[in-house]
Symmetry: D2
Subunit: 334 residues, 4 copies
């Protein structure tokens, strides 16, 4: 349930209340909307809670139950959109964030070259896979920590942030050491141990929607990260699995306005994995921007036809530049 | 197979060839690209065809087999995009066509009032359902011919064209008497008798994608109309059925660029039926425009909360006006 | 709503009541369960109905509202399972009904030969397509009325009933002239004009589930036939469209017990179209029988590799015989 | 690729060859069919392999390339069905294996009581969840190691084996300490780190099909476990996600014969999670047995209405007993 504090209550007042609740063995989360604090109170299903008791706590104006199964991810908990600030970069503040780079990090040169090209286009976040979740064990599995090292260095050299996928609880710390944003892939969206582990690291997380996940499943997966302690979660629509096999997946752009209504978290779109053919990526990127996406995750490779992974869905830096420019123009109108 | 004629061959030459082929009991279709005629030759699966014989026909430069199961709908048959001209209206010429109006025609006043509001926004095509395909026999089934009469009069009074759905081969002639464009609904996309019947009427047709139809199924359904004699077919993406039940259907915007690549036919998007909640319609309309849709089919009702059918997905004329304006701005950039 | 009559009320009493309701412009349907009559009263959504008035009608014990959107198809209306009797054949009485034959009727000899082989196995219902709903206009479209004539003669010659698909309202009367059971294909499950038309003919109907249809959609489609006047409707599960493309469709056997719980109508399973490869058909037929299907619709062709349509999913008469024998053994245990 | 050895080659000969290949830095897997050894040779995509060289190795009769992306899971590698032997229990030998028990282990008494009831029915494998993958972080997450202890003791006390899910690479060793079969849940089917980790433990694994997984995805996931070193993998069909929301998932029984054709691994069916309502579980269990499943995974709870998890899909021990008896009768016929 939510304790809405009285308008005059300060952060100090709120923290005193939280301490008191902690003493009662209750887990709390705090948020602020319109200069008013709001405390989410998570209790164990077995704990008996006396509502009246809470409404009598000092400074509490009213108590509101959660309407949805997802709580911290809901607008109920936080009415205003979440803005994620990482150094100079803001995500979800109305600007359009690009995260771009190769599907897999292959060589130091490849990632450096890509970073250079993207930085010159104003891209602030470099993506690249080091631990790769491949459908077949016989496919290239990524360079691992070496790849992270290349990625991190290439990003720093161009004043960029970087993002990479983490696949295993055992690797969370290693990946977190190198990257600014941890990515959870679609296939791990309901790897609940991993969700808790990344939440505890308290670094921003980009969570990809599972191929089979409804909006509710998706937000409940985000809830695992949020309750573990990280409020900085981005939701990434990357296509769902349907009967249409012409495209790799079916990009569900309704997810953008719907998730933004249900949740305060930023919504990113990955058109590359969704459609799976690079020539269609720009059109779907425009569509994503037009319906209000907070950012785009796009695969860019200096030589797509030589890529070890997903080359057919990667743009060249030139194609990316052309696309990004038009995206910015579209965003200005909206 | 396709007979590509030599560049110097005139329409008269082509027609002579067609007559000769007809005499051989072969069905033909002609198209022109870059001042060069091309004849599609459809033969019965049982007919033995001697390819050499055809390559020796006068004026034939080369013979090209069809690459896809859909033939007349393919880019193979017609490289340039089809532009459908109905009176002063052109669809598929790079402009953005709006078709708007109520899901169901309810009263003469309702449709007149809607037409007036839409005409003042520059909308050229009025939509309205008279024969309604309702999931339940207990739901409002439409006004039938009376509804068509209201629709047709309201359109004429405001210098608009009109479009309405036809559900049954028996009603094709009646509907065709009143409307400028015949609509085939998603549930009838594979009602092959109906497809043939509307094709024979030789009026423009808007074919909605079935909820379960792949792009190939969709284009083969269009092929039924094309082979029956109507080259003026629009493909309408209106959402497919997936596991996600929060929205009415899942709008598959990848269909827009993919269908435009596979086929020369114009591609229209219906965001209203796809998402099913009016507050999300504008965002999805922007997305459709951004990825290159040739037009939008949108539900507009003067009083959505009083609508007999699908009120929750209808925009008010004011909401429509605001949306249409932004769509036009987006289109200008692309 | 449902008027449950008092136990002592006779058929004559019930008919008097129906006449009175007809005079009030109300459409009624009658059923009998456990020697007690029950009248379903269908009124136009606009009609105001005074419940109290009806409860005071002579012989009415109580009034029960329908719980589901489908009414006549529901267990609410008819608690006992519907048994369809056609001549000596009973469907839905606990026995296992086989309907078998070629996908398409190709020649008189082919259908005669198939009928002979099946009749010798005790099969009572011969299936065969004359009007074929083919995804492509270039595929074999069926022999039409000639095919129906072959089918009907072959059935009569072997003391069998026959079933064939009707695709168009214009053809309902012709097909009904030749066959004992009218089939509505999956692609026409929501061709509402056709549903009404077959319902009015008052012959038994086998309705196939649309590839995209939920159980509720399916039962509402059946409701169109029922309200049009035919109580003898069979529901046929034939696979739904999912992301799994290895099999032609995904056979949803949960439909069997669920539909039998929601509805009193017999449930038939078509394993041939569902899986699309003949070597898997027997296993799925056994599964269908094991979960309680009232019957099986199976494709049988004397020479599957020469079939003009769907040969890869047709059993030979020998394969069918072996399968049918095992099905009967399984049924005995249940 | 596969090296098929000459018939006279002994196990010792084969091992010598394997040692030689290992020296060449090649990973190998051996299998025996019809008294003939066959060595699968897995090489890194970058390794250049000279086919001729291998065909000249001593004892090699011929070299066969793999036809599918999955190799060790294919019939290509192993023509005969895999039989998994765990103590006195054999899975995949033509008998029907039951694995039954509560969704979640709740108390020592609950699991003991369930074990007792099931053991008296001849059930040899006890299931029970200790680490629970729950869609919401607010749902009961399982008892963890304490639960495994209860499960293991209850199984031993009744001469049963036990199976439980492992969700995280960090927990693989703990779970393996207590159970005889490690279960990978549907949500972790593409948690590739976990698949490798359980494969390395060399205990039998039951792998559940992901809700979105095609047969090929499923077999490639199994391939991760196989290449990690465990040949004893069971494939478990538990329903896929489709548009039909009446049932929890859509049980895809075609998977049983198809997977048994594509692969040599045993196929188990979980009707409980698939349909999600206990009253439909027996019918679907019969169907699974009828189409050839090697075993059933069924939820049984002494008091389903008091279960902390998935009570609505659990059978009582009595319902289970009745169902199991009929399953055995059906199996005898097949």
């Amino acid at each position: 349930m939510l304790l809405i504090l009285k308008p005059q209550m300060t952060k100090t007042d709120a923290n005193e209340l939280i301490a008191r609740l902690a003493w009662m063995n209750l887990k709390t989360f705090i948020t602020e909307d319109d200069n008013r604090y709001c405390i989410a109170l998570i209790h164990h299903p077995d704990q008996k809670i006396n509502l009246e008791l809470f409404s009598e706590l000092p400074g509490v104006e009213k108590i509101v139950p959660f309407k949805e199964r997802f709580k911290l991810a809901s607008r109920n908990f936080k009415r205003s959109r979440t803005i994620i600030e990482i150094g100079p970069v803001k995500i979800g503040d109305g600007s359009l964030t690009f995260m771009a780079g190769p599907c897999s990090i292959e060589t130091e040169q490849q990632v450096y070259q890509t970073a250079q090209a993207l930085a010159s286009q104003g891209v602030k976040i470099l993506r690249g896979g080091a631990f790769k979740p491949r459908t077949s064990p016989y496919d290239f599995q990524g360079l691992g920590e070496t790849g992270l090292d290349y990625l991190s260095k290439a990003a720093k050299a161009h004043n960029m942030l970087c993002i990479s996928e983490v696949m295993d609880t055992k690797e969370v710390e290693i990946v977190a050491k190198y990257v600014d944003i941890l990515q959870i892939g679609a296939r791990n969206m309901q790897n609940f141990s991993l969700l808790k582990a990344v939440g505890e690291i308290k670094k921003p997380v980009l969570l990809k929607r599972g191929m089979h996940a409804t909006y509710h499943d998706f937000l409940l997966a985000a809830e695992y990260i949020l309750t573990a302690g990280t409020m900085e979660v981005m939701l990434c629509e990357r296509g769902i699995r349907t009967f249409e096999g012409y495209t790799r997946n079916t990009l569900d752009l309704s997810a953008v306005p719907v998730l933004q209504e249900l949740s305060h978290l930023p919504v990113i779109v990955d058109p590359s994995h969704a459609v799976g053919m690079s020539r269609f990526v720009p059109k779907l990127a425009y569509a994503a921007v037009a319906c209000g996406a907070d950012g785009l995750l796009v695969e860019v490779h200096p030589e797509p036809n030589k890529a070890l992974c997903d080359g057919q869905q990667s743009l060249t830096p030139d194609e990316f530049a052309k696309m990004a420019k038009k995206c910015m123009q579209l965003r200005e109108i909206l």
